[in-house]
């Protein structure tokens, strides 16, 4: 800080360097200590980070009820939206009869979007994004369509796999699952 004040000069103990001109024993050990210290620090940080990371779940931890049986095909009239609180998704039956399972989390910041039946759209209460019945964005700031979960229909029962969230930029026909004909 103060330039007038002379800095105390450190007392150096000179150690003879080997005549070969290589590294002295002292500097070699100093280097070794430094390197070991850094390695120990890196290990500590690594242990702390692994301890704190959310962790790789083993198969046993997967919730057994990840696949939600929503109900029989006929119980969902075309053009309607049914909320499933437990799986956090909406089961949508489009006018064409196909099924779509939409995540109820707004793609903007994760608020739950309620279905407003009167206006036929999902309206986010947090930043006023809105989505149509297929999950497409009709008003920003949401950057992409609502996520979907895979829908399967077995023995006339609609099932939704809530463990596999699929991100998409917009609605495409191939995302819709139709009940088998006949």
């Amino acid at each position: 800080m103060n330039p007038k004040k002379p800095k105390p000069t450190a007392v150096r103990i000179e150690t003879p360097t080997p005549s070969g001109g290589g590294v002295s024993r002292r500097s070699f050990f100093n280097f070794l200590w430094g390197a070991l210290g850094l390695a120990a620090l890196a290990e500590l940080v690594w242990v702390a980070f692994s301890f704190l990371s959310p962790g790789k779940r083993s198969a046993g931890d997967q919730p057994a009820n990840a696949v939600v049986s929503a109900g029989a095909v006929e119980s969902f009239p075309p053009g309607t939206v049914e909320a499933f609180q437990r799986g956090q998704f909406y089961l949508v039956r489009l006018d064409g009869g196909g099924f779509l399972a939409l995540s109820c989390k707004c793609t903007h910041l994760g608020c739950t979007v309620p279905w407003v039946a009167k206006e036929k759209k999902f309206l986010c209460p947090c930043h006023a994004s809105s989505f149509d019945i297929t999950g497409n964005v009709t008003a920003a700031p949401a950057p992409r369509a609502l996520d979907v979960f895979p829908v399967t229909i077995e023995n006339n029962i609609v099932k939704v796999d809530t463990s596999r969230r699929i991100k998409r930029s917009g609605f495409e026909a191939k995302q819709v699952t139709y009940p088998p004909k006949g």
Partner: protein
């Protein structure tokens, strides 16, 4: 008896060096003067140099530690129990509601006081060398206090806490590259749940207090190293080689005590009159309408209404933090220190910046709400461009325009121009905060408050 006092005195290294070593008064003074300076520059004592803001912040942090430790004895960090433990605390424990009120209000005041303290340091030039590093330490402390506030906000586990935290953590996802992993890491899983509460509780009650207190100590030590507070001298004056010094006791200590007691009295009064809010228990299936971030993040939330999240975050976090950290290195050297707003030109440009921002910000918000719709005008373009790049470019263009206009109109030197730009940004941020916190109602639509 005397022997006991003498032994006690040896705790503070007083031994028998001076006369009357065992006097409690001396013990106190020696301890105090190990922390506070013995002498202070007379001109730094003027109240309008600092408004006692740094000291008030220390008092509030102390209140936080004291009430926080008490609350920790009553709180249970598990999703459903958390809310129950709060209702039990408020209804059943003696002074439970009062202690929580103090903790709540003093946390909120701390954000405001630190914000003003930062402005004070900036506008009196106390961020210039030799106080550059301490400016960055102070900024870090502000960020840490915001983190402490945010982590504390979740703990009551009511609707307010759950959804405000959801949207705050939702912002993390948009940090380019590491966003999603960072979000998962902070949340402790794919969504807000018991793991998030556990993480936030640990951060709030162990990690952050320790780091904040440690960094505060460093902050004060650096202030002492810089020779105490910045000694005011005007542009024409040659800085004194040795400013007139007066003993800290009673000159400084009595002033500090007055500020501390006033701050405590104020917090206690507010805590007696107004209860800390506690909404309905958290319901992950239902976002209240509207869902707002805590008020100190409302400015950021307002930006999210207007910009694509990646750009809102880049502008707010990266740009603002980088710019404010670099201020001592970019601001140029001013002719004065310790003088509010540098000089006469500085005062005029600061007012110009404030007025310009006060007019432009609400106008821009209303315009964007009513007229501008880049996404609609540019169908087929990705939202990163229509809602991100284009408004961001306009924003940076606006800043450049304001800078040039002020430089030209006032023939302002560099420090005064930089200062006016900072005033512009600060007023803008304050306006955005007010707009989001007060002027937005259901579905985040603009409305007049109270209607």
């Amino acid at each position: 008896m005397v022997k006991i006092i003498r032994n006690f005195a040896s705790f503070f290294n007083l031994s028998s060096r001076r006369e009357d070593p065992g006097s409690p008064h001396r013990i106190f003074k020696t301890l105090v003067f190990h922390i506070r300076p013995r002498m202070v520059a007379e001109r730094t004592l003027r109240f309008t140099l600092t408004f006692g803001l740094g000291g008030t912040a220390v008092v509030l942090v102390t209140l936080q530690l004291f009430t926080g430790i008490l609350l920790k004895f009553a709180y249970e960090p598990f999703p459903v129990q958390a809310y129950d433990s709060l209702t039990r605390l408020q209804a059943g424990l003696a002074f439970g509601q009062f202690i929580r009120n103090i903790h709540f209000w003093s946390a909120n005041f701390l954000v405001g006081v630190l914000f003003l303290h930062g402005l004070r340091v900036f506008f009196t030039g106390a961020f210039r060398p030799p106080r550059r590093v301490n400016w960055i330490v102070g900024l870090s402390l502000f960020v840490l206090v915001l983190a402490a506030n945010l982590t504390g906000y979740l703990l009551p586990w009511d609707q307010l806490a759950y959804w405000a935290t959801t949207i705050c953590l939702g912002m993390l996802e948009y940090i380019p590259g590491i966003g999603q992993r960072l979000q998962q890491w902070v949340m402790g899983g794919p969504q807000l749940g018991p793991a998030t509460l556990r993480n936030f509780f640990a951060l709030h009650t162990a990690v952050l207090p320790v780091v904040i207190v440690a960094l505060m100590t460093y902050h004060f030590w650096k202030t002492r190293k810089a020779g105490g507070l910045v000694v005011p001298h005007s542009p024409l004056e040659v800085p004194e080689e040795k400013p007139a010094m007066v003993p800290s006791h009673p000159n400084l200590l009595l002033r500090e005590a007055a500020v501390a007691l006033s701050a405590i009295a104020f917090v206690l009064t507010v805590a007696l009159l107004f209860d800390a809010p506690l909404g309905l228990p958290a319901n992950p299936g239902l976002s209240p309408n509207p869902t707002k971030a805590p008020w100190y993040f409302a400015g950021v939330q307002e930006m999210l209404v207007h910009f694509h999240p990646t750009f809102a975050l880049l502008i707010v976090l990266a740009f603002a933090l980088a710019a404010f950290s670099l201020l001592p290195y970019l601001g140029g050297s001013a002719g004065s220190t310790g003088v509010w707003f540098i000089s006469a030109i500085g005062r005029r440009t600061a007012v110009a910046g404030a007025v310009a921002s006060g007019l432009i910000t609400p106008l821009a918000v209303i315009l964007d709400e009513a007229v501008v719709d880049f996404a609609g005008w540019m169908p087929g373009w990705p939202p990163e461009i229509s809602n991100g790049l284009i408004p961001a470019a306009l924003f940076i263009g606006l800043l450049a325009g304001v800078t040039i206009a002020i430089k030209k109109a006032f023939r302002a030197p560099r420090p005064e121009t930089v200062q006016a730009l900072v005033v512009f940004l600060v007023v803008m941020f304050v306006m955005l905060t007010i707009i989001c916190a007060i002027f937005r109602g259901e579905s985040m639509a603009l409305r007049w408050p109270g209607i």
